[in-house]
Subunit: 478 residues, 2 copies
C-alpha cells in the first residue's frame, strides 16, 4: 500500500510557522485585543471564519512540540489567538513543551476550569513538572481527582528538587518476574496493546518489587520463547536513585549510550525509570541555562516579553556589574593626582585591565569544564596553577611586550613602555592566579564553580589592573 | 540465580580514577619518562609488576568510556602508562571516546602498526570520525584492508562535512521487506543473534532499498505473527538526508523523542541511520564548544597541556581583544586634553563603557538563542528592536540615574552627574542597537550569529562609551 515513506522534513517547522502567520494575517485579526482562551470558533463574516477553520485544521495536524514551537515564535496577541484554536484535550501536553516564560503567558490566559481540564490529561510525572506554574487551587482540584496510586506518584515526583533524577523520572515501566517464560511475557505484552514510549527493556522484579535485572526487547525477540526470563535477562544494570544528581545521570546516559534505566530506592526496590528523551531535554535546558546565566539573564526570556519583564530578568546582573565597575572607578579615583600629571595613563589603563579579564576567563572556563566532567583531581591543582602561571608569563612577555613598544612609540617614553609591559605581565599573573583560585574555592565551599566566576574574575582584574598599572606608574614615572 | 541487580553506581567513575592513581603511585612510576605504547607487561621487581598486573586487571574491567575518562583525567606521563596497559583490541573504541586534545596525545605515542591495528577494529562510520587525526599512510593502509562494501561506506561517511547528518550517521540498520510475515521477520532476527545497539525499529524497504516505513520492535512483539509487515509498519517517518544540518537533526530528535531515524538519499533510498546516542554526544560537544568559543578557546583544551600548547589555543582571542582595547585607548587619547582639565572623567569613563558591554551582551545572547531555535521570524525584528531600545532607556534612567547621583555627590558637580546619566543612557541605547544589529547582519550574510558577537558588541560599547562620555563632557563641562 505504502508508497515512498512519507517524509516529515525538518524544515517543515519554518513552513508551519509561515502558514500560521499567513492565515493570521489574512484573517486580519485585531492584534491589540488578546482574547480569552476559549475553543469555540471565531464569529465574524464568512471569509474570516473560513481562514480560522483552515488555521484550526492546520494546528490539529501538528505535533504538540510543533505547536509549542509556533506559540513560542509568535508575539503575545497572535500567540493567544492560536492558543484559542488548540483543542482543549491537547492543552496539557503543549504546556509541557513550551518554554517557562511562554508557559506563564499561556497559563495567565486560562481560567481555573480550563487549567484543571488540561492538567487532568497528564500523567503524574508530567503533572509534577507543570505544578510549580499552576495556581494552588488548580493543583488541589487535580490532586483530588487522581486515583490513589497516581496521587502517590505525584507526591513522590514533586518531592524531589530540580536537578535530581527524581524530578526527571517517570512511572511508565513494564515489569516482569524472573521465573516466567518468554512465551508468557510475550502473551502479557500483547494484552497491553501498546508499550510506553522508550521501552527498550522490561524490568525484572521479584514479588516485593526488588529489581533483579532487565530484559531488553531485542533479547526477547531473538531468544527461544521456552526460556525463562532469568536465563536471558541482563543482571548487571546501571541504576539511579531518585536523589542522584541529574547531571551525573545525564553523563551516565551519554557515556553508556542508554535509552532507559531503572530508578531504585535505597532498599533496591524499583520505583520509576529514566528515559533518554527526558535526559536530552535536560541536557539542552541546562546548557542553555548556562549560556543565559553567563550573560546575566536570570531565566530564559520570551523574546516578545514586555520591556518591564525584560528589565526584571536582567537587572540583577547589571547591578552587580555596576558595583564592581564602581569599585574599579574608586581605585582610579585614588590615583587622580598621577593621571593629572601624566594623562597618557588614562588612555592606557583600560588595555591592562581588559586583557587581564579575558585571559582570566579563559583559565576559569577551562577549569570549570574539567570540574563539571569530574576530571580535575585534588593532586593536580598545584600542577595546573603552575601551568597557568607559565601561560600568563608567556602572554605577558608577548602582549605586554607589543603594547609596551606601542606605548613607547606613541608617547615617546621608554619608561612608560616598560611600566606598561610590567603591569600587563603582573595583571596576567594575577588573572591566572584568580582564574584558578576562584573555581577552586567555590568548589571547596560547595558552590557551583560555573556561576558568577566570570564576574568575580573581571572584578579582580579590573580593579587589580588599574591598581597595578597606576601604582607602578606613580612609583616609577612621577 | 541473580541476587539484587548489580548496581553500577555513577560515583564509581571517581572511584575508578582514585584506584588507578593509587596503583600508579604505589608502583612509583618514573613520572618523567613517557614510555612507548606497548602492551607488553612492565618489567621490574616483583612488587612493581604485581601492582602493574592489578592495574591492568582493573583497566580490563572498565567500560571503554570509563577508560577514556581516566585517561583524560591523568597528566601525560601517567596517561601514557595507563594507555600502555590497555589491550590493543580496545585501543580503537577508546580513541573514539576521548576528547580531541587527549586523542592527539595518545596517537602521538603510537606507531603506524599499532594505529592500523586499532583502526581495523572499528566500523566504517567510526573510522570516519577518527580519520582526521590519523597519519595519511595509516588511513591508506586501513582502507586497503577493508572489504568493498565498508570501503564504500567509509568513503560516504568521510565525504560529509562536520556538522551534517552524514558525519553522524552509521550503517548498522536492520531492514525487512513489507510483504513478509512477522513470523518470518522474527525467524530472521533470531539468526542475527544480536541486534545493533539502539535498534528500536527495523526499516522496511523494497527491492531497490527505497524506504517504505518502519517496524518498531514493540509492534513486532505485540502484533499477531501471521500479519504481514505492511499491515503493522509505521508508514509516516521522520527521515533525514546526509546533507541535513546536524543541529536540525538534533532538534528533531529532541522534539519528537526519537531513538533512531532513517537517513535517505535524494531518491528516497535508505542509506544509513541516525541514533540518539550519537545525537546526545553531538549536543554535548556543540554546547561545550559554544561555551569554550565564547571564552576564546579555539578548541577543547587538555587541562594537562603544555604551556606552549595552551598559549597557541588562546592567543588568537587575546590578540583580537588587544586590538579592540587599543582602538578604545586611542579614542581616550583623542580626549587627553579634556581629561587633563577634569581628571574625574578618567575614573568615571570605565563605568559607562562596562555597563554598555554587559547590557549589549544580554540582548545578543537572547537573540542568538532565538535564532538558533529558528524562532525569530523576519516580521518581528523591528518589534524586537523597539523593545530592546525601550529596555535600554529604562536601564539608562535607573542605572544612569543612580550613577549620575553618585558622581554628583563624589565630585560635587551637578553638571558632571547629568553628563554621566546622559552618557550611560546613550551608550545603553547604542548597546541595544548593536546588540540587535550584529546578530541580524551576521545572520543575513550567512555567518553563525553566535561566534564573535560578544567581541564585536564589547568593541562598540567600549569605544562608543568612551567617545560618548568624553565627548559630552568636552561639550558641556569644559
Amino acid at each position: 500500500m505504502a508508497d515512498l515513506a512519507n517524509r516529515l522534513e525538518i524544515e517543515d517547522l519554518q513552513e508551519n510557522l509561515k502558514v500560521v502567520q499567513e492565515l493570521l494575517q489574512r484573517h486580519e485579526l485585531s492584534v491589540d485585543a488578546p482574547s480569552v482562551h476559549d475553543p469555540s470558533p471565531a464569529t465574524g463574516d464568512d471569509g474570516r471564519s473560513k481562514d480560522m477553520a483552515e488555521l484550526r485544521a492546520k494546528i490539529e495536524r501538528l505535533h504538540p512540540a510543533d505547536i509549542a514551537f509556533v506559540l513560542e515564535s509568535l508575539p503575545l496577541p497572535e500567540r493567544l489567538v492560536v492558543w484559542d484554536l488548540v483543542k482543549a484535550d491537547r492543552d496539557g501536553e503543549i504546556l509541557l513543551e513550551v518554554s517557562d516564560a511562554v508557559r506563564e503567558s499561556l497559563i495567565a490566559s486560562m481560567d481555573s476550569q480550563e487549567l484543571v481540564a488540561a492538567a487532568e490529561t497528564l500523567e503524574a510525572d508530567e503533572l509534577a513538572d507543570l505544578a510549580p506554574d499552576l495556581p494552588e487551587d488548580v493543583i488541589q482540584d487535580v490532586i483530588r481527582s487522581l486515583p490513589l496510586e497516581e496521587r502517590e506518584q505525584l507526591r513522590a515526583a514533586m518531592s524531589y528538587a530540580d536537578g535530581t533524577v527524581g524530578a526527571l523520572m517517570d512511572f511508565d515501566m513494564v515489569t516482569v518476574r524472573e521465573d516466567v517464560t518468554l512465551e508468557a511475557v510475550t502473551r502479557y505484552l500483547r494484552r497491553l496493546d501498546e508499550l510506553p514510549g522508550h521501552t527498550d527493556q522490561l524490568f525484572v522484579v521479584d514479588r516485593d518489587q526488588n529489581l533483579k535485572g532487565a530484559l531488553p526487547l531485542e533479547r526477547l525477540i531473538v531468544s527461544d520463547l521456552e526460556f525463562e526470563v532469568d536465563r536471558v535477562m541482563v543482571p548487571e544494570l546501571i541504576t539511579f536513585n531518585p536523589e542522584d544528581k541529574a547531571d551525573d545521570a545525564a553523563q551516565a546516559f551519554e557515556r553508556y549510550d542508554l535509552v532507559s534505566a531503572p530508578v531504585v530506592d535505597a532498599a533496591g526496590k524499583l520505583v520509576a525509570r529514566l528515559t533518554v528523551d527526558v535526559v536530552v531535554d535536560y541536557i539542552r535546558d541546562s546548557s542553555a541555562e548556562q549560556v543565559l546565566a553567563e550573560a546575566g539573564l536570570s531565566e530564559e526570556e520570551d523574546i516578545f516579553a514586555t520591556v518591564w519583564a525584560s528589565f526584571k530578568n536582567r537587572w540583577a546582573w547589571l547591578a552587580v556589574n555596576l558595583i564592581t565597575a564602581f569599585i574599579a572607578s574608586r581605585v582610579i579615583g585614588a590615583f587622580e593626582g598621577s593621571i593629572e600629571k601624566l594623562v597618557a595613563l588614562a588612555a592606557l589603563m583600560p588595555i591592562v585591565a581588559g586583557i587581564g579579564g579575558n585571559s582570566g576567563n579563559q583559565t576559569t572556563t577551562m577549569i570549570v569544564r574539567a570540574l563539571a566532567l569530574g576530571q580535575l583531581q585534588p593532586p593536580y591543582w598545584r600542577k595546573l596553577l603552575k601551568k597557568e602561571l607559565g601561560v600568563a608569563m608567556l602572554n605577558g612577555l608577548v602582549w605586554g611586550g607589543i603594547l609596551g613598544a606601542l606605548a613607547w612609540y606613541l608617547y615617546d617614553s621608554k619608561a612608560l613602555g616598560a611600566v606598561m609591559t610590567l603591569a600587563m605581565t603582573l595583571n596576567l599573573v594575577l588573572a591566572a592566579f584568580m582564574g584558578v583560585a576562584i573555581p577552586y574555592v567555590r568548589q571547596k565551599v560547595g558552590k557551583d564553580p560555573a556561576i558568577g566566576s566570570s564576574v568575580l574574575i573581571t572584578a579582580c582584574t579590573d580593579s587589580g589592573g588599574f591598581f597595578i598599572f597606576l601604582g607602578l606608574a606613580t612609583l616609577f614615572l612621577l
